[in-house]
């Protein structure tokens, strides 16, 4: 974009940035503030704007009364494994479906669409049957395999889109230089589509992190529970402990935030270098 920045433009940018931050963070602030309130504070009417007195009892409850640490670990294992698989399979499939002269590419893309569109609710009972017959109930693979399968269509669509956007000359140069197709993808095309990888990866991870119904049905054993299922156990039939729930989910956001912050540098550099090269 233009490198000229008028003062008006700069002020406008700052104001809009602040508005964006408020829009995004206001409910998050509310969630964090509530997690730090006492039980009476949570139920207070009118609501307290600031958690006074501040109390960490909700955090303590989440980790001591419930095995929340284990749930976080399980979610991490399942989400990371699924994301890695999704990116690995999806990259090559996306490249193939975007670049290589396969017949019926569009049909496959449409089929992928149909599959990703089918309401997951209808899939749970037969999938449970499948898992049970495979003996996979209460295991990590019971979730990793379905999550991979169900997140691949979207990842393939995204990655394919980015692969199409890569100029063909780069690949042809690589081919002339004698690189095989695998290396072409790995060393030439992939670095240019890092934003796409990041996008697909973060969405796959988040979908796995937040999936509930399958995790509940397949992995009901406490040792394999994931975070969404764990949070559903807070409270009892008549009591919804907002404070504890928000405390737990505040903690559950941290791994994602860390991941994003870690990859933020490579993403930003990927984004800007892509722009320069483009």
């Amino acid at each position: 974009m233009s490198s000229r920045r008028t003062t008006g433009g700069r002020i406008g940018l700052i104001i809009s940035s602040i508005l964006v931050v408020i829009f995004v963070m206001a409910p998050i602030y509310w969630m964090l503030a509530t997690s730090l309130k006492t039980t009476a504070g949570v139920a207070a009417a009118p609501p307290q704007w600031f958690p006074i007195p501040i109390s960490v009892e909700n955090y303590v409850t989440a980790f001591t009364q419930y095995d929340f640490g284990q749930y976080i670990l399980n979610s991490l294992i399942v989400a990371i494994a699924s994301t890695v698989l999704v990116l690995a399979f999806g990259t090559f499939a996306g490249y193939a479906l975007g670049r290589l002269p396969m017949r019926g590419r569009f049909t496959i893309m449409v089929l992928l669409l149909i599959i990703s569109v089918f309401p997951a609710i209808a899939l749970i009972a037969p999938l449970y049957l499948l898992m049970r017959n495979l003996g996979w109930l209460n295991s990590y693979q019971a979730l990793i395999v379905p999550y991979t399968a169900l997140n691949l269509p979207f990842a393939i669509w995204i990655l394919r889109n980015y692969f199409i956007g890569v100029p063909k000359e780069m690949e042809e140069t690589a081919r002339i230089d004698g690189a095989g197709p695998f290396r072409t993808v790995w060393q030439v095309v992939l670095p240019m589509t890092l934003p796409g990888l990041f996008t697909a990866g973060i969405f796959a991870f988040t979908a796995c992190w937040t999936e509930f119904l399958m995790a509940l049905s397949f992995n009901s054993a406490d040792a394999f529970r994931t975070i969404p299922v764990g949070i559903a156990l807070f409270g009892n039939a008549h009591i919804t402990p907002y404070g504890t729930i928000f405390a737990a989910s505040a903690v559950a956001v941290v791994p994602i935030a860390i991941l994003v912050l870690i990859f933020r540098r490579s993403v930003v550099s990927g984004l800007t270098s892509g722009a320069v090269k483009g």
């Binding site: 509940l216 049905s217 009892n236 008549h238 009591i239």
Partner: protein
């Protein structure tokens, strides 16, 4: 040229072969699917009925699916399990913590049991026996446990767990609606605890007018099962019913039902109850009462201990009484039955051990622990009327004085019946339906439901 054609044909042939391979694969999958499905349906209609329970009654390892009962302090589930295992050291019980939402519970249990798996014993809602019995998702316990066992329970509970002559669940602990009141405010205004709705309304109006409290009466009227519970209490008080004795037709369209719903509506329109009652579940009504904003609260038995927990604004100011009735009717009014039963999975490999567990959990020791340590209402009649239990807390003391009414759960289509009731009641409370319209709509929807029509 011909070579090219051959090549082209080869390519096309290869593609055709590839496509036909895919076609074959598709057909194979379809065949496999049909094969699996027919295998599913030819598996027989549920576990065969044997007169003696399979498995070993004193040895084995079973899983117990139960949602959290309390939210703080000791966990009754683990306490009871450890007590049980002391008595029966060769039976190991593994607790599987279940989600709190009863609908989610049912969804998961259905998925697992119909898929051939699931826990051995599960704690389920009292409104499940008909539905679970009709779908063979629970073992008919009356096939294994004699009448003498079922006679140990308090009145009405076993009937609620019966479907088509078989008892599907063992009542574990019970719950019912109570009227909680601010004894400090009543005393300050020289009022006694109301025994009729009319008295309650006038007391509330007086005290609200004085500005001593924000709301007169808070209850549950949101678009969920709890609204059915509340409405059943009003309906019973007015003398109405929902289903006929065969549970195949609606009897809801009556003057009694209209009277009940009109009264419930008037609570909101007169300002005695907050306008937000149409979004109130237990949490909201409890919070309002614990914060000191309400004079009367209708809630389950946990409300007493919650109102006396630290952080509450009404510690020492709360009394509990049976529900009121309409003027001219015999007091007390009706309390809706809630609570939980213990069910056995038809796929359980050790039904005998499951039954041992269930018998112990509904026996004297476990029931007394539940009542005295955890303030739950026991289902065992003897335990319920024992003085130890009666003195445990004010709620348990008045359990014998209440009059009970069950929800119309004798039909396997109960969820649809309940939805017909609560969504229309909710409509009245939200102001979008008149009581007459609501009763008529509900009645016709109930008729559709019990005839197995509808979605």
């Amino acid at each position: 040229m011909s070579k090219n054609i051959t090549q082209a044909l080869n390519i096309r042939g290869a593609l055709r072969r590839k496509r036909s391979v895919m076609k074959v694969a598709a057909i194979a999958t379809a065949v496999a699917t049909v094969a699996v499905l027919s295998a599913c349906s030819s598996g027989g209609s549920g576990s065969g009925s044997t007169s003696a329970a399979a498995g070993n009654a004193t040895k084995g390892s079973i899983t117990w699916w139960a949602s959290p009962i309390t939210t703080s302090g000791a966990d009754p589930r683990t306490v009871l399990i450890s007590d049980f295992e002391k008595k029966y050291p060769n039976i190991h019980v593994k607790l599987i913590s279940a989600p709190n939402d009863t609908d989610t519970n049912r969804a998961t249990l259905t998925t697992q049991i119909s898929g051939g798996g699931g826990p051995d014993v599960f704690m389920g809602d009292v409104i499940w026996p008909a539905q679970f019995g009709a779908h063979q998702l629970a073992v008919p316990l009356s096939k294994y446990l004699p009448k003498s066992y079922w006679d140990t329970f308090a009145n009405g509970l076993v009937a609620g767990a019966t479907y088509n002559g078989e008892v599907y669940g063992a009542p574990f602990f019970e719950d019912q609606g109570f009227l909680y009141y601010r004894k400090d405010l009543l005393a300050a205004n020289n009022m006694k605890v109301p025994t009729t709705w009319e008295e309650l309304v006038s007391d509330a109006k007086t005290i609200q007018a004085k500005g001593q409290v924000k709301y007169g009466y808070v209850f549950q009227g949101a678009n969920y099962e709890g609204a059915t519970c509340n409405f059943m209490e009003f309906l019973g008080d007015a003398g109405g019913t929902v289903l006929n004795s065969k549970a195949d037709a609606s009897t809801l369209d009556s003057a009694a039902a209209t009277k009940a719903l009109t009264f419930e509506q008037s609570l909101v329109t007169s300002g005695v109850s907050p306008q937000a009652s149409s979004t109130f579940q237990e949490t909201q009504s409890m919070n309002a009462f614990s914060a000191g904003d309400a004079l009367f609260l209708r809630n389950w038995d946990y409300a007493y201990s919650t109102s006396q927990a630290s952080g509450s604004a009404v510690i020492g100011k709360v009394g509990v009484a049976p529900m009121p009735n309409f003027q001219g009717q015999p007091t007390p009014g009706y309390s809706n039955i809630g609570g939980w039963n213990l069910y056995v999975n038809p796929h359980s490999k050790n039904v005998a051990a499951d039954l041992t567990f269930i018998k112990w959990m509904t026996g004297k020791d476990a029931q007394t622990t539940l009542a005295t340590k955890f303030s739950e209402i026991p289902t065992n009649a003897a335990v319920r009327s024992s003085s130890a239990v009666k003195n445990a807390n004010p709620v348990l003391a008045i359990v014998s004085q209440t009059k009970l009414i069950a929800r119309p759960a004798q039909t396997p289509n109960y969820p649809e019946v309940s939805q017909a009731i609560y969504s229309n009641v909710n409509g009245v409370l939200a102001g979008s339906l008149t009581p007459q319209q609501a009763i008529q709509k509900a009645s016709s929807q109930i008729n559709t439901a019990v005839k197995n029509g509808g979605l």
